[in-house]
């Protein structure tokens, strides 16, 4: 008859022998460590891309949609554009912003500060691609440059430089400044979660062009978005701001300062 004590000793001995016979080298550990760190980095990069400054990205997307269609591509009907940035690409030093020219694939001119007190805060590349009605990427992607400016008195202003020239869309006002046309638009935006369904009233406002809807935030938010844009040397520049009390004249002045600096 097998005694309990014997059984327990045998079980312990068996498991120990089985486990300790597995050879695990330093190299095995290093391989595992690299794979684990890679998984973690990939996960965190994905998380950063989705959360960073979504509203501003959305406005770039929205501005693109407002401004009109992009160059048609072969694989499908363009239903919209998606854009994303990565917080790891953020450049806080104005002197280093020129590095983004390589990522974007084009040269651009920006200034460090404006007379009205707006100062350079950070710059990031914006990765964009078109999507079809089913939300699939349609194969056309590009990189824009986005620069954030801060002011003690007013809301932030975002400058986007893009090589992806768009046809003119809704324009509320424009001005010819030294041969460069500056267009101004004013829009009511609604930022909504990805699964949000528009009410009939909201859809009617979208259809009439009185409301722009942008998907991807956690909650529903309404913002007034103002934008001035112009083209210089085949690069389109857009200054965008949300719920800003400063008035459109200040945006025009900022555009003129940039045109003068180029």
């Amino acid at each position: 008859m097998i005694k309990r004590g014997d059984i327990e000793l045998k079980i312990k001995e068996t498991l120990n022998e089985r486990a300790e016979n597995i050879s695990l080298s330093n190299e095995d550990f290093e391989v595992m460590r690299r794979k684990v760190n890679y998984s973690i980095n990939s996960f965190e990069e994905e998380k950063n891309m989705k959360k960073f400054s979504f509203k501003k990205i959305a406005v770039v997307v929205g501005a693109i949609c407002i401004l009109g269609s992009v160059t048609a591509i072969a694989s499908g009907i363009i239903a919209g554009t998606e854009a994303r940035t990565n917080i790891k690409d953020e450049i806080k030093d104005y002197e280093k912003v020129s590095k983004l020219e390589e990522k974007a694939g084009f040269g651009f001119d920006i200034i460090e500060s404006f007379d009205n007190g707006y100062k350079f805060d950070y710059a990031v590349p914006v990765y964009s691609n078109n999507i079809d009605e089913d939300g699939n990427k349609t194969g056309y992607s590009w990189v824009d440059v986005s620069v954030n400016y801060k002011n003690e008195k007013y809301s932030d202003v975002s400058l986007t430089a893009t090589k992806n020239l768009y046809e003119e869309g809704t324009i509320d006002e424009n001005e010819d400044y030294k041969g460069t046309v500056i267009n101004y638009s004013y829009n009511n935006y609604m930022f909504v979660p990805p699964t949000y369904e528009l009410t009939a009233e909201e859809q009617a406002l979208v259809d009439s062009g009185d409301l722009v809807v942008s998907y991807g935030t956690d909650e529903v938010e309404h913002k007034v978005v103002e934008n001035v844009n112009w083209v210089d040397d085949n690069v389109q520049y857009m200054l965008t701001t949300f719920d800003n009390d400063m008035g459109k004249d200040i945006l025009f002045d900022m555009a003129k300062e940039m045109i003068d600096a180029e």
Partner: protein
Amino acid sequence: MNVESIVKRMINDDREAFDILMELYYKKAFRIAYLISGKYADSEDIIQDAFTACYLNRKKIREPEYFERWLYRIVTRTAWDYCKKSKREQPVDNIFDESIKDDRCFIDDIIKSQENMELYKIIMSLPIKQRTVIILHYYNDMGTKEIASITGSFEGTVKSRLFAGRNSIKKELSKREQFCKKEVPSN
């Protein structure tokens, strides 16, 4: 080395601290994964997933002094998921490269390591949760309370599984002993 302080550093996003913890617990965690799953290749994936989950959920650690228990909980649950996916509830026939002759006499002919191999085969044939309790108790020297915390069960359940697992092993060993006695001709 103060593990608790290293864990606290990891909780505060210190990746170097996490690397240290991985190195400290890699071999032991791997062996637990191997004993539960029975497969070396699966164990590599289990450990990789477990350590990744460990770091990504680091903010949930409430008691850094019990990090080891927390880690083994993740390893155990991940191993269970893998076993479920590959349906390894009865992995007996796939474990060993060498063939085992079932009709060999257990007591008379098999050398020590082969005895252990047979016993391991019996352990691996247990239902996965019973097997896990046996492994954590006899290989990791854990008490029933600690095992309950790791497996997410009541202590009473752990005791039952330990009792049932031990009994199944004993019964199977006795069966084989009886089988050998019948086969040996009496002179």
